[in-house]
Amino acid sequence: MRIKLMIPCLVEDCLPEIGLAVVSVLERLGCGVGHPKGQTCCGQMAFKTGDAAGARAQALRSLDVFAGPEPVVCPSGSCAKMLRTYPQLFEPGTPDHARALALAGRVVEFCEFVLTLPGAPDFGARLTARAALHRSCQLDGSDAPQRLLAAVHGLTLLEPERPERCCGFGGLFSLQFPAVSESLVEDKARELLALNPDILVSAEPSCLMNISGYLSRSGSPVRTLHAAQLLDLALNGALTGGVSWS
């Protein structure tokens, strides 16, 4: 199966190893992975700060970048959701609205997509570790990460006390309300660390950045991985992209 990969801007420049793990896993599971050129931002930043015109302009670009019949797979719940929000930005009945609807129907979050592949959810992946899962509110209650990771042999998948509670990032929110944001990530880190995990895993890169940034400032040794990285490690015994696993 051929797919188009949508890489969040955060992954492109700050967490490229997540993108490489996504490619590794998808190729290993038999997908042809295309990575359309010219990707920048999905427009989420503009949309969430109330700049509808800016969001619309960026959406129009994405409609061009991701044109075609293939599924668009994205390793971020919030970016996938933004792409599915495009129809809201255009007048119903216009050609752009129709294109936005068509794209929205093709967008799939990484874990959900992997669960549709032949053999799912048990791909024979194996990793002996205790992994604390942060579900991320940005996945809108999807249980795909749980279902996917629960099938990894040897993995003890743990969920914190309030699994769906926000980690406090919220994009611009974390900069406009930094102390509130910090209080929330403090709560989240406490509840996750209480599980005594080896790994913290999530399917949302922005939450990972927020939580791992906090953990690293507070000197915690817990390793944070995207679900794709955990799967990559469990399928291949090593992490793709020059990142070492100790």
């Binding site: 490229p16 503009a46 109330g50 700049d51």
Partner: protein, 480 residues
């Protein structure tokens, strides 16, 4: 809206940043919101055909909004026929004047009030007190915040921010009360039943002395002209039956077409609010005491308040906020509310629904920050039994604040996002100069909170981009 404290929505950001540093407040809020959510969870678990009942309640509310002018006219007609005097108030000032007029008319010296957010919205108490009237809040939580000279911090739990010890200290100071034994001073460790009994003693006197009772309205039934009041303490029923005159104040969206619609709402409201199948008291009041009846007010008034709501109704997206029947569950489920409490919002209504209502009811210039104090996590939407999509409305409000002119940083970002080459150049240059983003907090045009963010969280590092790494890897593989 006028507040008895110095909090204002204009300072929402500063107030919320300060509130989350108050460890005691956070602990009290954490305990209380978990308690509410826990009780609610148990009640909803046991609620057979829950989704059907939620849908019926939503339908009743949608009916009310879509037929509002007709229903309000019918309500006026039926209430008048039942002997209630109906008043229309365009805004808060007019509503205050109406109630003050009624108070003057009956020569009221003491007024008792049932818990009502709408009377907070119109700042009724100060207006009555300015006329020399003694005003007493009789809901226990409201009574506590009144003694503390604070506004309520939660729609249904006004003193949610206070601990038991806070209340004991407050009673000792303001009521000059000794403990129940009458011997020693009331101790901080006084039990809740003991504190409640002390408040009850103080309030009994007020009920008996009151010339006028003022309450809000949970549901007004157009079909019968009745006012429905939901409570657990019995103080609202006493406020409507002890004094000879009762004034009920409703915001105009609180109407329901029929008793059946009201029942659909009542099946959901207490469960969602306090996890009860039904509240301890539900009063259905239709007009004043009739001849031969033993209780009830001799004179009843209903004030129907607009205060900006007609304008909200005109907005196809934002009108959804008027579906709310004030169960308060979105406050309890909101991680931001759980952390900062209600006062930080600086207006009468707090939390997710409060952000929406305050932004719509108060001047735009005072509420610019409110819709941004939200991570868009959607816990409120998931919790709301009426299906209000708070995050969607929040985004709509942000659009109104932005009004087509995004800030410098935002505009620059959009420009770069639209020009991939420039985007790559800027990111490449940033990586060359400052890969660990040490200089980021000092860049002009970026939010001032960046420095504190970086203080508590290691910022990400700029690495060799994914696109280049993938290209290299594929080249290597192709060549191998």
């Amino acid at each position: 809206m006028v507040l008895t404290s110095t909090f204002t929505p204009r300072n929402f950001r500063e107030q919320s940043e300060k509130a989350c540093h108050d460890a005691t407040l956070r602990a009290v809020l954490d305990h209380a919101t978990r308690y509410f959510m826990g009780k609610r969870g148990v009640a909803l678990e046991a609620f057979a055909d829950r989704d059907t009942h939620f849908a019926r309640a939503r339908a009743a509310r949608l009916t009310a909004l879509s037929r509002l002018p007709d229903l309000l006219e019918q309500l006026e007609q039926r209430a008048t026929a039942a002997g209630t005097k109906v008043h229309w108030a365009h805004d808060a000032a007019q509503a205050r004047e109406i109630v003050a007029g009624i108070a003057r008319g009956c020569g009221a010296k003491v007024v008792v009030k049932g818990k009502s957010m709408v009377t907070e919205e119109i700042a009724l108490n100060p207006a009555l007190e300015a006329d020399g009237i003694e005003v007493w809040e009789t809901d226990l939580g409201e009574f506590i915040v009144q003694l503390a000279e604070e506004p309520p911090s939660h729609i249904i739990a006004p003193c949610i921010h206070k601990s038991r010890a806070d209340v004991a200290a407050l009673f000792r100071e303001k009521l000059g009360l000794a403990g129940l034994s009458g011997q020693e001073d009331l101790e901080d460790s006084a039990s809740i039943p003991e504190l409640t009994l002390l408040a009850r003693r103080a309030l009994r006197e007020k009920f008996l002395a009151a010339d006028l009772g003022v309450t809000g309205v949970n549901i007004a039934v157009a079909e019968t002209g009745s006012v429905i009041l939901v409570e657990n303490e019995g103080n609202i029923r006493m406020s409507t039956t002890c004094p000879p005159v009762h004034v009920a104040i409703m915001s105009l969206e609180k109407v329901a077409a029929s008793l059946e619609d009201a029942a659909d709402i009542l099946r959901v409201l207490p469960r969602s609010a306090t996890g009860q199948k039904m509240s301890s008291y539900v009063s259905v009041l239709t007009g004043p005491r009739r001849s031969g009846e033993l209780d009830g007010a001799r004179e009843t008034h209903l004030v129907i308040l607009d205060n900006g709501r007609s304008e909200i109704l005109a907005d196809a997206v934002l009108r959804e906020a008027l579906l709310c029947f004030r169960c308060g569950a979105c406050l309890n489920s909101c991680p931001v509310y759980q952390t900062i409490g209600g006062h930080a919002y600086g207006s009468v209504y707090s939390g997710p629904i409060g952000t929406l209502l305050s932004s719509l009811l108060l001047p735009a210039k005072d509420t610019r920050d409110l819709p941004f104090g939200c991570t868009l996590c959607g816990a409120c939407k998931k919790t709301c039994p009426l299906g209000i999509d708070h995050p969607k409305l929040m985004l709509r409000l942000r659009e109104r604040v932005c009004a087509g002119s995004p800030g410098l940083a935002s505009a620059a970002h959009t420009f770069l996002a639209l020009h991939p080459l420039a985007y790559r150049l800027v990111m490449g240059a940033a990586r060359a100069v400052d890969p660990h983003l040490n200089l980021l907090p000092r860049l002009p045009g970026l939010p001032s909170g960046l420095a504190s963010f970086v203080d508590s969280r290691q910022p990400p590092e700029l690495k060799k981009p994914f696109t280049a790494q993938l290209r290299n890897a594929r080249k290597k593989r192709g060549g191998a």
